[in-house]
Structure formats: C-alpha cells, structure tokens
C-alpha cells in the first residue's frame, strides 16, 4: 500500500482542477439573479450535453483522422427503440449491455 509522491501531487492537482468548474457556478449563482435568456440557454444544455456524450462514444479519434465505431452505432439503434418504448433507465442500460455483449460474441 504505497503512495508515490509524484502520483500524490498529480492526484491533488487534478482534484483541484476538477473541483473548481464543479463548484464555481454553485458559489457564484447564489449572489445574482440570472436573466431569462440565460436561464433559457441553460435549459438547452442537458439535451446538448447528452447528445454530445453519445456522439463522443461512437467516434474514434486517431492521429488527425476520425472513424465511426460501427458496432456501437448498430447497437445504438435497438437500444434507442427500447428507451423510447420503455422510458426506463434500468431496462435500457441492462438491454444495452446484453445486446452489446451478444453482438460482440456472435458477430465479431
């Protein structure tokens, strides 16, 4: 159970730079009322970020070129249908894992 000094410095430094963006809005927003257009802008953030996170997971960046991760795209389609039909987070996640495992087992 050892902790290397350099590793410790990395962990502490990285902890600080991840904490700041997380807490800054919570510290600042209390003291001002945000104007309506800003609140409206913020209401679009969830849909944008969630879409971005999905896209980020099906593209592969390799030294200045971009590839599409086709197996992921193919499995995304049935998972999307399951999400729309069930509107359940748990069912979607579990079926996603099973479909991906099945896809890799039988087809790759």
């Amino acid at each position: 159970m050892s902790i290397d000094l350099f590793t410790l410095l990395v962990i502490i430094g990285c902890a600080l730079v991840t904490i700041i963006p997380r807490i800054l809005p919570f510290a600042v927003v209390r003291n001002l009322t945000l104007p309506q257009p800003v609140l409206k802008w913020l209401s679009y953030v969830p849909i944008c970020i969630l879409t971005a996170l999905v896209v980020q997971n099906f593209i592969i960046q390799e030294n200045h070129s971009l590839k599409i991760n086709w197996p992921v795209i193919i499995v995304i389609i049935p998972v999307l249908l399951i999400a729309v039909r069930t509107k359940s987070l748990s069912i979607t996640v579990i079926s996603g894992v099973i479909l991906m495992a099945g896809f890799r087992f039988f087809l790759l």
């Binding site: 159970m1 050892s2 902790i3 290397d4 590793t7 410790l8 990395v10 962990i11 430094g13 990285c14 902890a15 730079v17 991840t18 963006p21 997380r22 807490i23 800054l24 809005p25 919570f26 510290a27 927003v29 209390r30 609140l39 409206k40 802008w41 913020l42 209401s43 679009y44 969830p46 849909i47 944008c48 970020i49 969630l50 879409t51 971005a52 999905v54 896209v55 593209i59 960046q61 971009l66 992921v72 995304i76 998972v79 999307l80 999400a83 729309v84 509107k87 359940s88 987070l89 748990s90 979607t92 996640v93 996603g96 894992v97 099973i98 991906m100 495992a101 099945g102 896809f103 087992f105």
Partner: protein, 241 residues
C-alpha cells in the same frame, strides 16, 4: 415550456434523501462497470490500490481517471496532466451552471457540497426530474450524489483488486452501459417536451451530432463537447419562437 417554468415556481411534494438514493439505482450499473474498468486500468498503469482509491475519491471523474493513468504511464510532466484533466472536466462547469439556479436558497456550504459531487449521470437524472416539471432539493440531490460517489469509489477499488483477473471487460459489453444510459437520459428529456416544441428539440439533436463530428476533426472530442454545446444551445435560444 415545461423546462423553463420549473425553474421559478411550483413545489410539489419535496423529494427525500432516500428518494434520491432510489433514483440513483438505475445509473449504478454504469458507475460499477466503468469504475471496475478504471480500477483495472489503474493497476495496469502501475498505480497501487491505495492510489486508485485516492484518485477515485478526490478526482471522481471517469474519463479523467483513464487519461491520468495513460499520462502517468507515458511519464508526462505534472503540468501537462493537470492541464489535460482541467480541459476534460470543463464541461462540468456547464452541468453545474444548469443545476445551480435550483439550489440558491440553501447555504453556501450546502451548495458547495452538492456541486462538488456533480457528474454527467447525476446531472442527467436531476435534469430529467426538471424536465418532468418536478422540483429539486438538497436532500434528494445529496441522496443521488452520495450513492453514486460511494459506489464509484468501491467499484474502482474492486477493479484494482481484481485487476489482474479481468483482462477484457469490453467482452462483457459493460462499456456499453454508459452509452445506453446517456441514450435513455436523452429520451427521458424529450419525453416531457410539449409536442409543439419536439421538432425544435429534435433539430437541436441533429445540429449537435453534426457539430460534434465536424469539430472532432480539429480538436479533442472533450473540447468539442463544450464548444458544440455552447454553439447549439445558443442556436436553441435564437431559433425558439
């Protein structure tokens, strides 16, 4: 306009801490699978179990933890590792900025406690609650955040302990838990959009996909996430009638 309205008024029954814990459960498979993978990678990158645990507890960010491990193995300088981590996590600013206006009535300390544990997943669950027109409160948010936090640390440490046995977590399809979760959270967001607005939201998803792919040709995808979001959320405001 369900989303906008929920910011200002209407407080139905206020949700409890244990309701927050319950609402976190569907996301746990994502934390567990990625956490275990993170622990496996940590040990493979010559970190001790203690260091993996400390990394999980203090940095508490999946993508960054993978990147930190990779940079440590590559003998990168301290400044480069910290700067990269900062950029990868900058999107958390947008997540916190979206949630923070709902917690202004609580003390600064409570706000910091909530903010420090915000993740993509807890943000997703909280904003789908907002999309339903329900309110957020401190107890519920803490229940959600603390459950995820504890589960994440345990998963990373377990991954580190069994790191040498699990050679390929991808074969089990567990990496797909995260994508499935983001897909489901996206659908849950749309579910409560009034039908006259649905087209507007769907067009934003299309713009967002195009923006992400286009920007990813020129920059790391974690930077593209931030820039694409800023651009498309602005398009959202401008094109909203």
């Amino acid at each position: 306009m369900i989303i906008e309205n929920s910011i200002s008024d209407t407080q139905p029954a206020s949700p409890t801490f244990s309701q927050g814990v319950k609402d976190c459960v569907p996301t746990l498979l994502g934390y567990i699978s990625i956490g275990i993978a993170c622990g496996v990678v940590g040990v493979a990158s010559h970190l001790s179990i203690m260091e993996v645990g400390l990394l999980a507890a203090l940095v508490y960010a999946g993508a960054s933890q993978f990147i930190i491990c990779a940079l440590l193995v590559a003998n990168s300088p301290l400044s480069a590792i910290i700067l990269t981590t900062f950029i990868v996590n900058l999107r958390n600013f947008l997540l916190s900025a979206t949630l923070a206006p709902h917690f202004t009535k609580y003390s600064l300390l409570k706000n910091l406690g909530i903010g420090i544990l915000v993740t993509d997943e807890s943000f997703g669950v909280a904003s789908s609650r907002l999309a339903k027109g329900e309110s957020l409160n401190d107890k519920w948010m803490n229940g959600l955040n603390v459950t995820a936090y504890i589960c994440w640390i345990i998963s990373c440490v377990v991954g580190a302990m069994f790191g040498n046995w699990i050679s390929n977590p991808e074969a089990l399809g567990l990496d797909f838990a995260l994508i499935s979760m983001f897909l489901a959270l996206l659908i849950l967001q749309l579910q409560h959009v009034v039908s006259s607005k649905l087209k507007h939201y769907l067009s934003l998803i299309v713009y967002m996909t195009i923006a992400m792919i286009a920007l990813s040709f020129f920059m790391p995808s974690h930077v593209a996430v931030i820039i694409a979001t800023v651009i498309v959320a602005t398009i959202g405001v401008v094109t909203d009638k």
